[in-house]
């Protein structure tokens, strides 16, 4: 299956899971809405141009927004995640050649610890931005802090579990292929 088809399927799958499963759960401890959908952006191929990555992030967030009646909220957060992604990858992977050996970020491609850090940073970024936008409208500092930390923890766990449950088989790319 080509990378494009795979990502198009993932696009709809993650949106539907977020809208009809995770968003139907009553908030845990009245604070935590588990977010998983943005993992789609984290799984996009390494060699995607920065510009289209940002655009895909925006459109992806907007699609979710129309389902949840919050136009702009998730779009803003997804754009931020998509824009920040290349910077984080550049910091985390020390590489000598300019080519990546694998197509997408995963445990096999990056190693467990760098991958976990990669997920954690972007999850934190995504959740703090979303809660921050909420906070701008209804200020309450302790609520803000608690919600950011709790939501990030749950989302991070969910993302790592998803990664381990649904093993993505990836070919090692060589120069000859």
């Amino acid at each position: 299956m080509s990378s494009l088809v795979k990502n198009i399927i993932r696009f709809f799958l993650f949106i539907l899971v977020q809208v009809f499963v995770l968003d139907k759960i009553p908030p845990l401890h009245r604070l935590i809405t588990p977010y998983l959908y943005f993992i789609f952006i984290l799984w996009l191929p390494f060699n995607m141009p920065r510009l289209s990555l940002t655009l895909v992030g925006f459109l992806y967030g907007l699609t979710l927004d129309y389902f949840l009646y919050t136009p702009g909220l998730h779009a803003a957060a997804c754009t931020l995640v998509a824009y920040a992604r290349p910077f984080i990858i550049n910091i985390l992977i020390a590489r000598e050649s300019t080519e990546f050996n694998y197509i997408e970020p995963s445990i096999t491609a990056m190693g467990f610890t760098p991958y976990a850090v990669y997920i954690l940073i972007l999850t934190f970024l995504h959740n703090s931005y979303i809660v921050f936008l909420e906070w701008l409208r209804f200020p309450n500092f302790w609520y803000f802090l608690g919600k950011v930390l709790a939501t990030t923890g749950v989302s991070f766990l969910l993302a790592m579990i998803t990664e381990m449950l649904f093993y993505r088989k990836q070919r090692f790319r060589t120069n000859t292929a």
């Binding site: 968003d23 510009l51 925006f58 967030g61 754009t79 909420e134």
Partner: protein, 283 residues
């Protein structure tokens, strides 16, 4: 000028990112103000069809509860029938037409339109309900929405076949309410925390409020028909710094399993509005 173009070309990624951010934030903050956003009507038709499909499953699983609610509502309505009341003095007979029906229907004030709920959220601080009835079926903006047990919210966006309802579990929802027993009027708000409880404010402390008191829609609301259940007093918080109570209410509607609602149109609203506007202009 050349430097500016060079700068933009060099940082084009960043500029593009900023533009998208600004678009997203504009949508977000405009939506809060006017409750409508770019393409929301069109998008609602598409997302609504997904919701409707999901709802067919959910609906089936909750049939039993819906049935019980309908039976309870029927019982309540049947108990209001005139034939159930008999005066002991049989020599007098009171005859009263309770409903005046004439060909022009000029006495009707409220018209009830039944609608099916196909989308519902209780988990965010800004909760909306989607119903499968839209402008083609007579739903308009600002109409009241009631469930079989109590108040649900107000219609904010309408597309051809669907409508989006801001439920009272929305941080910006304000509804005029009054105590059933004594008649004092206050405002219903939601603090965004627990979807089972709402707050009634501006009730003066001179009133004796007890736990379990009923709160109904007030007679001064131009959307809601008077006397509809909103909630029941759960806790009377005594705030010494204020002359007003802040009452914690349990909602009359169970927002977790609302299945069918009634959209209520106030047919005399336009006349009332134009009269009030004319009065204000005279001053």
């Amino acid at each position: 000028m050349r430097n500016v173009i060079l700068f933009i070309r060099r940082y084009f990624n960043f500029v593009f990112f900023l533009i998208l951010q600004v678009i997203a934030l504009m949508m977000l903050f405009r939506y809060n103000k006017y409750h409508e956003a770019a393409f929301m009507g069109v998008a609602m038709e598409i997302t609504g069809s997904f919701d409707a499909r999901y709802n067919t499953i959910e609906n089936f699983l909750r049939l039993k509860k819906t049935n019980e609610q309908l039976a309870a509502e029927n019982e309540r309505l049947k108990n209001r029938l005139r034939q159930d009341f008999a005066a002991p003095d049989s020599s007098k007979q009171v005859v009263l037409d309770s409903i005046r029906i004439d060909s022009l229907q000029q006495y009707r004030k409220y018209l009830y339109l039944s609608a099916k709920v196909i989308g519902n959220s209780t988990s965010s601080q800004t909760n909306f309900i989607t119903i499968h009835r839209g402008s083609r079926q007579g739903v308009q903006r600002d109409m009241a929405v009631l469930s079989s047990t109590g108040v649900v919210g107000t219609v904010v966006t309408v597309s051809n076949n669907m409508a989006s309802v801001m439920s009272i579990l929305h941080r910006q929802s304000r509804i005029s309410a009054s105590l059933f027993r004594t008649g004092e009027t206050g405002t219903i708000e939601w603090d965004g925390k627990d979807p089972q409880f709402i707050t009634l404010k501006n009730i003066p402390k001179s009133v004796q409020v007890k736990k379990g008191d009923t709160v109904i829609t007030s007679k001064y609301s131009d959307k809601f028909p008077p006397g509809q259940f909103i909630g029941f007093v759960e806790e009377v918080a005594n705030d010494p710094s204020s002359n007003f109570y802040s009452l914690k209410l349990r909602t009359a509607t169970n927002f977790f399993n609302v299945q069918y609602v009634n959209v209520v149109a106030n047919l005399q609203k336009d006349e009332q509005e134009s009269l009030e506007k004319a009065t204000q202009q005279k001053q």
